[in-house]
Symmetry: C2
């Protein structure tokens, strides 16, 4: 098996090192496509090219591994590679979540395998387990902490008592958050992963735009103190579930009480909980961000290609389930500042109301579809947290 690699950052270099050091894996990286030819590289220049077609059109290369940041360029590489019948590996969740129907169709049409374990919770082999192990329809929900950056920030807030801004700055200094952290802290990134898992868990294709999400970017000291006073912490939890033939999904910060299984999932660790009618609760915990955990997932995908592994998408093929979760009712905390700022009629029930000079909050029940269309949620003074 000969590999063509796109991108030679930390993951790519780690992969190179492992493939050259590991006895069990007999694989060769033949060519590496990079953007900047002038950078110093730790391996001979002969391996590198700036022309993608040196890889895509090389008949000797059977596996294309895409490890670049740019979602649009990644889309071009992956689709061109699959069209040429090459097995393809990627970890680009944003790109994959936005193009799943097309990427599925391309695999069916060309017979080429497309693997992307690294796109969901890095080192946790969740896609493979959903594909291979939980393939009977007893699964009732898949949820968890899918974003290492926000989990790192939340850990700093609750363990080291930093403010949100201090914690974000620390995460950026340590390389756990991008200089533009919006994809993470506003909850887009865990939602992309959720959309990918929706297909492998329940067999439904769903555009990210149709899934409600709310990030942790509006978290303030009042919310943080509220969580602490309740004896718990806040975690950003993405969740999908089956209710009869209806499948639902959302991603919202959640109050997590002490002693809860998510309490010990700290910093860049991710967690996935599977619930099924027969096995009850399974928990998977592992590092969800960073070069090594992602490299590990990519390596396992490459390794699986040695024996022609491919996702079968069995649940999609046998499925009658439809995405429709609007009528799911959630119990939420809504923090705001002024009377009239939140539409009371959107709630089916409000069980607690707190009013003070600085902040108000309600605890109440609200349907997911009301949250999806709520104008008041665009107000930066309003924050939303699920009450478990």
């Amino acid at each position: 098996m000969k590999i063509g690699l796109f991108g030679f950052g930390c993951v790519g270099q780690g992969l190179w090192k492992v493939l050259h050091e590991t006895k069990g894996v007999k694989l060769e990286i033949k060519r590496i496509c990079i953007k900047n030819q002038d950078k110093a590289r730790p391996i001979p220049a002969g391996f590198f090219t700036t022309n993608p077609y040196d890889i895509l059109d090389d008949p000797e290369i059977d596996v294309v591994v895409e490890l670049i940041d740019d979602a649009n360029a990644a889309y071009q590489i992956v689709t061109e590679s699959l069209r040429r019948g090459k097995a393809t590996v990627s970890a680009n969740k944003k790109m994959i979540a936005h193009h799943l129907p097309e990427l599925y169709a391309l695999q069916q049409k060309t017979g080429a395998s497309f693997l992307y374990e690294g796109a969901c919770c890095a080192s946790i082999p969740i896609i493979r387990n959903l594909e291979e192990y939980y393939d009977n329809d007893l699964l009732t929900s898949v949820e968890g902490i899918f974003n290492g950056t926000t989990n790192f920030i939340l850990s700093k807030i609750f363990e080291e008592h930093l403010s949100f801004d201090q914690a974000l700055q620390t995460a950026q200094e340590l390389g756990f958050a991008e200089s533009d952290p919006s994809l993470d802290i506003e909850g887009f990134d865990p939602k992309f992963k959720l959309c990918i898992l929706l297909l492998h868990a329940f067999g439904v294709f769903i555009e990210p735009e149709k899934v409600f999400h709310h990030g942790i970017h509006r978290l303030n000291d009042f919310d943080i103190n509220y969580a602490k006073r309740q004896g718990g912490v806040i975690k950003l939890v993405a969740r999908c579930y089956r209710n009869g033939n209806q499948i639902g999904a959302y991603c919202i910060p959640r109050f997590v009480p002490n002693e809860h299984r998510y309490q010990s999932v700290k910093n860049e660790y991710n967690a996935v909980t599977l619930e099924s009618a027969f096995s009850e609760r399974q928990l998977f915990v592992g590092k969800g961000a960073g070069d090594k955990p992602t490299g590990c997932a990519v390596l396992s995908d490459i390794s699986a290609l040695r024996y022609q592994y491919r996702y079968e998408y069995r649940k999609f093929q046998q499925n009658g389930a439809a995405f429709h979760a609007g009528n799911t009712e959630l119990k939420v905390y809504v923090r705001h500042r002024r009377v009239g700022q939140v539409a009371e009629q959107d709630f089916s029930h409000i069980s607690e109301r707190y009013i003070s000079g600085n902040y108000h909050y309600w605890i109440g029940q609200i349907e997911l579809r009301k949250l999806q269309t709520a104008e008041w949620l665009h107000d930066p003074e309003v924050n939303l947290i699920e009450v478990a």
Copy 2:
């Protein structure tokens, strides 16, 4: 696919129910072999037989599922079934651990698939993950809480402050421990699971007799209070690991500090930790005992047979690793009563000594091979706990 079932206890009945209720799984149980024909059964009598050959010699039955307690009878059924080329599923860890080389050879010879996910940590899909996902040789250790009965007892001791005897009695009353609990509390059961995982993790066959184990049956209030004063609990941990080309394994109770990932693994839950050079630490948590978790694993095995799944035992086939762990040094707590009761010369270093009228303990370093041959460990007044 037509199934022949041996045994119709809780797991068998649960399986029947699920196979008749689940849309995705198109499987039929054709015949059920039972020991006692006179018991009242919830399904028509025509399904039952007391003659194993009504299943084994039925050419229409392609899958044999063995769900009986008796390890000897299970061995007969499984080997006869494999010899006839039938795919076979079992969850009998004792039987499997003692016959792995023969069961492997039978699969190679007949081409029949033999699956046994339910034999290790019930609902946690650990064999499948080791087989399929962690098949490169970067894995450095597999360890965890592999026995639900002892974990239940230890949880009662540390959460509800029961003595060992009270906790054991509670476990027996609730059905979490057998009337003869020795296989569990003396550590045989988690060792059997460890021996099975040794093959799938590191590709070595090892007889259970060669793996050192020490159970929780000698735990007394002095040990329990010691653990509490250190700010932690005790868990029975089975562990196997790679050290260069040498593979080692043991099963010993361990002091686990507060906030450790095993602290939140309570009652009948099991946990498995995988460590690998590239992905660092992965944790899997799920119910490790009980009919439903075991039934879930058996169902997943049956389900995988629909697409001709079989264990490839890749690590055994590519491996140069040998089992030899004698020189691993462990840090242990050894509690005893009298001077001269424990052989001091067996220890490479003793860092703490405690002496009182009732009990003595040492904290020291000792090689695994010394523990394997230590006469003093047969003394019921001596207890051993690993210091992490």
